[in-house]
Point group: C2
Chain length 241, copies 2
């Protein structure tokens, strides 16, 4: 974090970031010698460290919380202890991990960003767009859907083809009014909602969520082949350690 103020900083905007890396990444760990995906390196830098840095360096973000698998919180990797982040143990589901992160945030932040620890190529410009649009609800970076999307109910038959022009693939970081996100999550936990991203919790609680332009290189590393693509992006963007 820069202590000096900057043009993109504003007195009323104070944000915290939660980086979610609480999963075991089973799909990829098996193929990569058991190393958890967030600790795998891309261009010589751990994926998780790449995912954290832009938040640590952003002038409007004063607190960065990293959610790790429980057993890793006591024994974190050295490159993580060298950074100014708070470590929190994750939960059974992604939503539990986010909730644990929210629970340790101070009152200072009026905005909170939630980011996947497996997305190593988030830019300062993208963080700015999300912070700017989060306002009185939430903001989600997204890319227009490029594939034709079919809906099916499980019997293998297509029910319908969705109107692609209305579809967006959501990315992270997603940004929210902090108190609003906490209150939406409280309701989600009480009523046992099932969800795949944080914005859908806020949507279901009835608050407005805006789309902002995502970034094509902001991929989530899930499968072994994604690591190869990430190496390409790292080489192209010339992002070094």
């Amino acid at each position: 974090m820069s202590v000096s103020s900057s043009d993109s900083s504003s007195p009323e905007r104070s944000a915290a970031a939660i980086i979610v890396a609480g999963g075991s990444g089973k799909r990829i760990a098996g193929a990569m010698g058991g190393v958890r995906k967030q600790y795998l390196e891309v261009g010589g830098v751990p994926v998780l460290l790449r995912a954290i840095r832009p938040f640590l360096e952003h002038p409007d973000i004063h607190q960065v919380v990293v959610v790790l698998p429980g057993d890793d919180v006591e024994n974190p990797p050295a490159w993580l202890t060298e950074t100014r982040v708070a470590l929190v143990a994750g939960g059974a589901e992604r939503g539990d991990s986010v909730w644990n992160g929210l629970s340790v945030l101070g009152d200072r932040a009026n905005l909170v960003l939630v980011h996947d620890g497996a997305r190593p190529f988030v830019s300062t410009a993208l963080i700015d767009r999300v912070l700017h649009a989060a306002g009185d609800g939430g903001a989600v970076p997204a890319m227009p859907a490029t594939d034709t999307v079919k809906e099916s109910t499980g019997d293998g038959l297509v029910v319908r083809t969705l109107d692609r022009s209305r579809l967006w693939n959501a990315q992270t970081p997603q940004g929210f009014d902090r108190r609003l996100l906490v209150s939406a999550y409280q309701r989600a936990r009480r009523e046992a909602w099932s969800f795949t991203d944080d914005a859908s919790v806020v949507e279901r609680a009835g608050f407005p969520v805006r789309l902002v332009t995502g970034a094509p290189e902001n991929l989530k590393i899930t499968r072994p082949e994604d690591l190869e693509i990430a190496e390409l992006i790292a080489r192209r963007s010339n992002t070094s350690a």
Copy 2:
């Protein structure tokens, strides 16, 4: 095409394939020195040639039609004239190109496969799955959606988050009963339907469309970075010319 019969061949199954490469690929051509994307090479082999070969070599497919931009039909690339394919000029929209391809098919085929010329990594196994499931309607290879998908109507606000467990990203080749596809297309053209894939025409005409398991490497080359990913796949699969 193999003249000899094989285990996967059956007397009642006779298929034709339409490979659609009628577009100019503007998004990628500008970045690649003006060469149309279907003529760009991956691992030393033109993308379109890679897309065509598995159909030419399949024992159940007796006719392969390639739809090219109008001016290329008269002057096709040499590697294309060396193959046993029929060349047809494309139309204004993708649907017009498919229609032009359908118009030159003989009566022998009871099934027809429609494949994107920009998908260079289709396997024989995938073609088999599609032919097997096309039956009395259509079959679409698809992958389960991995991104969270948001629906928005154009004002930038999220209307809703779709239930990801019901969503599938469609690929090609898509397979159909030939006469049924022709009749569905006739109606689509008469009533000026708008659509992004062939299966949606058949769905809207009221016929059953089945999902079959797609393949992760069966990507469509659209953006310049997709070519780099394609090079990775070509190297990994060791598919040579």
